[in-house]
């Protein structure tokens, strides 16, 4: 089943045929968390760096912000059976998008600030990033396949495998011994 994650949303899945996808990552950050043993994965699409920008909104929807969304993503993964020391994190997005209409510069540097907040939050959580596809000035699509753990970003016709499918996870998903 395909789960689509919209802007300021998060989804966690653990089904063998599940795939989580998010589109149109510009300055937003797409963050995947995956436990290859439990085969539990989640994807967060956060818009802005920190919840203190709008504390009310952060309580209402923590997934809107990097610093409140990440702990929520991790907690949801832990509840679904993932363990912190097995979690593999990938990140995409954080681009320097020009203002609507194509003119102007990236005055607010939201992409850059999102990445800085991501680093700070992960450092506090005690988790490192395994692979990333961030920066530049492109929009990205990010997918996480639960059965294999494969993470792919797509930008136009270019696909980048951030995290290759894990053979043991593939075997387990197909009911074979790894």
């Amino acid at each position: 089943m395909h789960h689509t994650v919209g802007i300021a949303e998060m989804k966690v899945a653990k089904g063998t045929d599940d795939l989580i996808i998010t589109h149109a990552l510009g300055s937003c950050l797409g963050i995947t968390a995956y436990d290859p043993m439990a085969r539990v994965g989640g994807l967060l699409h956060a818009m802005l760096p920190q919840g203190s920008l709008n504390a009310e909104k952060a309580v209402e929807n923590p997934y809107m912000f990097v610093d409140t969304g990440l702990p929520s993503l991790f907690e949801a993964c832990y509840r679904a059976g993932a363990l912190k020391n097995r979690m593999i994190i990938t990140v995409a997005g954080g681009a320097a998008m020009k203002s609507v209409g194509g003119g102007g510069d990236d005055f607010f540097q939201i992409g850059k600030r999102n990445i800085i907040m991501l680093r700070k939050t992960l450092w506090n959580e005690g988790i490192l990033v395994k692979a990333s596809d961030v920066g530049g000035a492109v929009a990205r699509t990010l997918t996480l396949e639960i059965s294999t753990g494969e993470v792919v970003t797509r930008s136009g016709a270019t696909a980048t495998v951030l995290l290759p499918a894990r053979p043991n996870a593939v075997a387990a998903a197909e009911g074979r011994k790894p």
Binding site: R119, W123, G126
Partner: protein, 130 residues
Amino acid sequence: MSLNILVVDDSRMMRTVLIRTLHISGLPVGEVHEATNGQEGLDQLAKNWIDLALVDINMPVMDGETMIDHMRANPLTKETPVVVISTESSPERIELLKKKSAGFVHKPFTPETVRETIERVTGVNHESGD
């Protein structure tokens, strides 16, 4: 196999950051020893079995480069892998330091860069070690 690691840097903050990086890296870390300059680093090497040394260059008393030279002259520490972690920006100096060590990490660094360099140098992977 867990790695006994020596962290040599005169900045307490930098040692703290490096040690936290080691602990959250997922690498199998055993004992972690600290030293604030090259001489203290050599003293720690004489007292403990060290599998890997993370060494700053610009330090008082004895700089990191002299410490590495002393390590290479000692049969017991000749083969111990060293990763230089430094603000050095001159390409010529970096090339020289790379020749003397197993890896070079430029400050400021991301914790991921430190992890990748240690994995490359030691052949120990964070996913294989518990």
